[in-house]
Point group: C2
Chain length 639, copies 2
């Protein structure tokens, strides 16, 4: 969607140089390649990860991968799915272990499409992205490394970054110019070190972990579940894997040990012997060990994610945590996604450059919150095992809350990926946002949508073909803002909808201001961006599908999005008495609807009432005016 790659002054000029082809680098590269950017992507490994390493895909990350059209490629590997976590503890008699409880890894109070964690080794994951990149003409250059870089916007305001790249064996060198540089090189980031950015250790405790993937023969009944096992002989975590494999994590040393040594290690045989002791009275034998590794790790967050908003860091270069949290790859994906669409918004001419300043605070806050929860949660568990009542209260959709239940619920939201909550800023409306209007709907008991949090999942029926669809998946990850116009009952809102359309069509509206330059040559089959590359619109009526007639009910320009017109006529168990369940789940009035702006990454920006007159569009102009590149509408937008 951006200008073609040949718009650059020379072959050695790029939009971005990406260093590292792990999850964070590949997600960033994949998004930007799809949106038309010219990318130099290098990795110092000759091949993608051959085995082992990160493997847990959160429920919410699977939504994201589906939104990118990549889910089938992941699922083709038949990954293991973790629906429940089992806890095993020493028996009271002191001999062997006994299951003390299980609970859902994504309990039903989280409205997840895929209430499970997907386990698949990092190599498969990387290869899915690499195949997609190649479709878009990007090939990761291997094994190459970065030797140095400078960034100077004054010297070259357009391509301020100069990067020196080299084949790892020194046989070839390349100097390139770029608009951006991204360091996704992992915990030992060269770029971070060169920038002089330090790491803050949130938890002073460090650990040495042993991790082993293999195929076993065992009578331990929960070998296909995720298990936290504590025994008199030590602790172990069990993670099921694809192809009958199982991963075991064993803590080999902790900085709380009297004789702690971060270089302490253990052989595979020692770890197996240890696992055998821990699992007693059950037996375990290895048929095959696929991967074994020992590594020291501590919780840490880098002080900055960028210094100049040209050279950025993300993923493990910014935050490290214990593998138990299972968050590394998922957090990396979201770092990349957050940065990708913001770079796109700026470079495509839609947003002010200052939009990039929201990357670090949004993502660093998430990492900090996550680590804080990780500690709190671990502490709560180490104190005592939860009671049966607590488990029941924690996993049900109720309001019974004690400290344990509250922490458990918050943790589940985090570990599922649905708990990310970006704080107020120009993108995430709050009472202190420049946009002020009585039509703006702040989150309250009724409006369940919260700016900075994910849009809520809902089923609807697409009008043109009567397909039952997932509304939140209807717009692909195309870099556009998603405007969901919940239109309530057509008989009550037809005037408000016409007014919305009319005011959107005015010259200085957010919508008209960003009309496609190639408008006259756009195919009539274009579903998502017929008028503007920055917005995809959806209209959802609180009506039965056969009762919606697009030609009659949807005014232009909204009617151009005919594949995005829906009937809110599907029953939902979460709102069993609602007539328009999608409206109800969002907390919007089933008669009067409302307009929801969702950021390109799926997080709610603002919720506005659908009113007759200009109020709705005025509020949207003011919202977008807070960060977009051109003046919009009335004076509010100029704040």
């Amino acid at each position: 969607m951006a200008a073609p790659a040949d718009r650059h002054p020379s072959a050695s000029h790029y939009d971005i140089v990406i260093v590292g082809a792990g999850p964070v680098g590949l997600m960033l590269s994949t998004c930007l390649a799809r949106w038309g950017y010219k990318i130099k992507h290098i990795d110092n490994r000759a091949e993608p990860t051959p085995t082992g390493r990160a493997d847990g895909i959160q429920p919410r990350s699977l939504d994201l991968l589906r939104n990118m059209g990549l889910k089938p490629a992941f699922m083709a590997h038949k990954p293991a799915r973790v629906y429940e976590v089992a806890f095993w503890d020493p028996t009271k008699a002191g001999k062997g272990i006994v299951r003390t409880g299980t609970w859902p890894s994504c309990p039903s109070f989280i409205d997840a499409r895929y209430p499970f964690t997907t386990l698949l080794h990092q190599g498969h994951i990387e290869r899915v992205f690499i195949a997609d990149l190649e479709k878009n003409g990007v090939r990761v250059q291997r094994p190459w490394t970065i030797r140095g870089f400078t960034s100077n916007e004054k010297e070259d305001p357009e391509y301020p970054v100069t990067v020196s790249l080299e084949h790892v064996d020194g046989t070839a060198k390349e100097n390139v110019k770029a608009k951006y540089l991204f360091g996704g090189e992992g915990a030992r980031s060269f770029i971070r070190e060169q920038l002089g950015i330090g790491i803050k250790h949130k938890d002073p405790i460090a650990y040495v972990w042993g991790v082993m993937d293999g195929v076993v023969k065992t009578d331990f009944p929960d070998i296909k579940m995720k298990c936290n096992i504590h025994s008199e002989h030590g602790s172990i975590m069990v993670i099921p894997r694809e192809n009958n494999m199982v991963r075991l994590y064993i803590q080999i040393a902790s900085s709380t040990d009297p004789d702690f040594n971060p270089r302490k290690t253990a052989t595979a045989e020692e770890v197996q012997a240890s696992a055998k002791r821990i699992l007693q009275p059950y037996s375990i034998e290895w048929e095959r060990v696929e991967w074994y590794s020992v590594y020291p790790i501590g919780q840490g967050i880098s002080d900055k994610y960028t210094l100049d908003h040209r050279v950025f860091l993300g993923g493990d270069a910014c935050h490290t945590h214990s593998p138990k949290a299972g968050q590394g790859m998922n957090t990396a994906f979201l770092d990349a996604l957050n940065l990708a669409w913001k770079i796109h918004a700026v470079e495509a001419g839609f947003a002010q450059r200052s939009l990039l300043e929201t990357y670090e605070p949004e993502r660093k806050d998430v990492a900090e919150t996550l680590l804080a929860f990780d500690n709190k949660y671990a502490k709560l568990f180490s104190q005592r095992p939860p009671s049966g009542n607590e488990v029941a209260a924690a996993t049900a959709d109720t309001n019974t809350e004690n400290e344990f239940v509250k922490t458990f619920k918050e943790s589940c939201e985090f570990t599922s990926g649905y708990g990310v909550a970006y704080k107020p800023n120009p993108l995430n409306w709050s009472p202190s946002h420049p946009a002020q209007s009585h039509v703006i709907l702040p989150p309250n008991q009724k409006t369940k949508l919260v700016p900075g949090r994910l849009f809520i999942n809902a089923d609807v029926t697409r009008v043109v073909d009567a397909n039952v669809v997932h509304l939140e998946q209807e717009i692909p990850l195309n870099g556009s803002f998603r405007i969901f116009i919940f239109a309530g009952r057509p008989s009550l809102t037809s005037r408000a909808l016409s007014d919305l359309a009319a005011h959107m069509s005015r010259p200085k509206s957010f919508y008209s201001t960003y009309t496609r330059q190639d408008l006259t040559s756009v195919s009539h089959h274009e579903r998502h961006n017929p008028h503007s590359l920055f917005f995809t619109l959806c209209v959802i009526f609180a009506a039965r599908r056969p009762d919606v007639e697009i030609a009659r009910d949807v005014p232009p320009p909204l009617a151009a999005y005919r594949d995005h017109v829906y009937a809110d006529d599907r029953w939902d168990r979460r709102v069993p008495d609602a007539k328009a369940c999608a409206h109800a789940k969002m907390g919007l009035d089933e008669d009067r609807g409302g307009v929801v702006v969702v950021r390109p990454d799926g997080y709610v920006g603002i919720v506005v009432a659908l009113e007759e007159g200009s109020g709705t569009v005025d509020a949207l102009n003011a919202y977008f005016g807070a960060f977009c590149s051109k003046p919009l509408g009335g004076t509010q937008a100029m704040l």
Copy 2:
């Protein structure tokens, strides 16, 4: 699973020769290749279908394709999905057309996992099968044709069929010997003609159809729906397709026309002009025509599907019908599946050869019923358009029935694929079956499972890994009988379950009699066939998952199927008050359960109570004894 391919006397000896690589031949070939048979598969076309032809996959066929693990490969082509059918008729004023109604193509009274028809062109479908075949070492030999064959069991009881094959240009010839020959060559079957089998025309009316696939620009609002359009200028059927394509069927001539000529034709331009007139007041223009064809067709059924149970016919070679029914490919799939597992059961030594005699009556009856319904349904529509009340009654899950509603419901069952009902025979228990016992549960108001009809869909939780799964999909299409042991409440049935296990383990039981010969070398990872290649077992408890403990609740040999132990603890909207919804959906007692035998193709064979003592296994011995190859259990089995 059969003996290895090199068990044949020579390289030119095969288990089966399959002629024709359309849907019926490919389904047969794919099944038998997976089960280890040696196949010679030829087709007289140089390439798979390049475009056009059959394209509708029924809801039930999608279940089947999923059960074969092929669904993702189909869905990767992003097929169109038909959820509703729209009817358009002349306006009362006599100018143009107006929508007179729409209804679901698979209404909610049908308990379908995928309540839509999947549209994908036959070439994509064929290639998915071809890729799977190649994984199993079978390559379709093209362009080759059959020049003659003989079948003589007396001369060669093991390989009675001799087949002469030839390259279509005559440059190469091959004579092969085989146990079976299958003709899946389409309506003009050479094998059928050689056998002297005639075609009976059920409906004396013949038609000439024009069919056109293309990309259009139109303001007709239902272009992405399936539409039946009647106008003063003629009739047309609209079928949405993948890649923004649409298929139009236009009836060019009917034998009821005064000047009927089955060779009547029309050019693509004439059909387009006709479509433009019919669609008025809407406009339609073609951007591209992908495929256009005119063909005469009538309803017909061949008199026999086989003469000697060595040379078989299936698919279009046996039945032809109007394309409007959209049944050709789906019926072909089921012909092939029905034959495939029966050949396997006989050749692998499990069933008597007479089992093959059930192929023709089962499949011919389905074809006849289908054509009869097709006629009845078409007549009902041609009489008058249905009223709104009738549509509401027909699509709801109610008992309001008039002739229209009744016919509509039956037709929906047929067109969805869920309506196939095989009549009583040794496989499908009835009161006249040799197996007689008070523990056999005949279908009644309570027991919803009917021998000869499909097993009912239900969600359950797998115990070993807490995955929520579709019970009916848990056993892959492996050629084995599926024995679903609904075990009710463990506290009430533990004795009955132990007795079942004990009697199954006795030497002459159906289960012990067919123990795997390679039992000692079977991997402990084997999920489906740890003991027998002819049975896969599932045990479903009416309990919450955490309350099931396999080591305690499941006696051997059932415990060997640990990946097939389930908790019936998922809520189902169809039985909202049930505690054990899968039990309830089957109509089985939630406390006491029952045992359901499902044929390898997914149709119910017999339902038996789960009782203490030997009664349950006695009844199963008697059931399997009616068709299996060795004497079983007590005297009943010898009938």
